[in-house]
């Protein structure tokens, strides 16, 4: 299988044609896997690295696609969804992890199942020095709040790693973050 990685990781004005929009590839397989596992609420702060998942969720009539003003809203949303018997996922960039810290006490204290996909910045090949502080702190911060981190570097790891993460979250009730490295998603070009 050939995986095509979207070339432009910048947000583009909606009217502009730009970048190479893949219609197949690991991002699409990942979306299908989330849906096969019964996830019906997809929450996010808009992010280029999660662009395909966000676009697919917006086009999916059976999913609530929830744009947030800050990532911590998504942590609380996941807890509420679980109270109602639904499964949710939070998509964010590594910089958003810092916005979630105290809210994660809700997840840890009540043992809510928790799944988040994190597109990394301040990581492999990063060209913006502002991104390194939170990018490099992402794993220690999550670990300190009881969130298990699993990291994906290569496209062929996406499906098996996500299957493992969803088992840990939804079968074992753990809090799990899947880190999509910049080696996988591409460093933002400057």
């Amino acid at each position: 299988m050939e995986y095509i990685i979207e070339m432009s990781l910048f947000a583009r004005p909606p009217q502009a044609e730009g970048g190479i929009k893949a219609t197949t590839g690991w991002q699409h397989d990942l979306y299908d896997l989330l849906r096969e596992n019964g996830i019906t609420q997809i929450a996010y702060v808009p992010d280029a690295g999660h662009g395909v998942l966000i676009d697919r969720s917006l086009a999916d009539p059976d999913v609530h696609s929830i744009a947030l003003t800050t990532e911590e809203e998504g942590v609380a949303l996941i807890a509420g969804a679980d109270l109602g018997g639904a499964r949710a996922v939070l998509l964010m960039q590594s910089s958003g992890v810092g916005n979630c810290i105290n809210m994660l006490s809700l997840i840890k204290g009540a043992r809510f199942p928790f799944l988040t996909l994190i597109s990394m910045r301040g990581d492999f090949g990063e060209g913006n020095p502002w991104q390194f502080a939170m990018g490099q702190a992402t794993e220690p911060v999550l670990a300190a709040m009881g969130v298990i981190c699993v990291r994906i570097e290569r496209p062929e790891e996406v499906i098996p790693t996500m299957n493992a993460a969803m088992t840990m979250a939804f079968k074992s009730g753990q809090a799990v973050a899947v880190l999509l490295s910049q080696r996988l998603i591409g460093a933002k070009p400057f």
């Binding site: 929830i66 947030l68 509420g80 969804a81 109270l83 109602g84 018997g85 043992r111």
Partner: protein, 187 residues
Amino acid sequence: MLERSETVPALIGRHEDFLIIAGLGGTACDVGAVTGDSANVYSLGGAMGAACMMGLGLALARPDKRVLVVTGDGELLMNVGALATIAVMDPANLSILCVDNGHYGETGWQKSHTSLGVDLEKIAVGCGIKHTRTVATKSDLAPAARVLREANGASFVCLRVKPTEAPEFKRNFDASFCRDRFRAALQ
């Protein structure tokens, strides 16, 4: 000014008609006094700012039930962007009751922004929430209670009360136990 111990029960009415998320501090005690800490309630003891978004996740998960978030002005202000997110999603079954005493009662009664000119109903309106009310007198209670029960879209009621203690109520602080209890009762 209105008294919270009289007006919160009047606005909630028959609590069994709702799934309730209660914010930390005074509003958890308000709700506990009305419900006896029953299984249709999930009360926060921390994670300040979570209540409204927990309500949204629950409302989207259970469109067949009416969800009521009862929270305070301090908790709401900490994550006020949640009102914007909720307005955009506009679930037909989510209502928010903010018990606004203008103070942080838990930490020594410091004034909150709502004592200093911030109007939470105007923020809700500005976010795009279509069904809003401010309750400042007893005659406002009945129409606001109807909004909380019947609005076909996200609703927001700001209840202005005196800065007095919430009713004393000892509730269960075991967040995990309360999660299991809530989920089991909802099956």
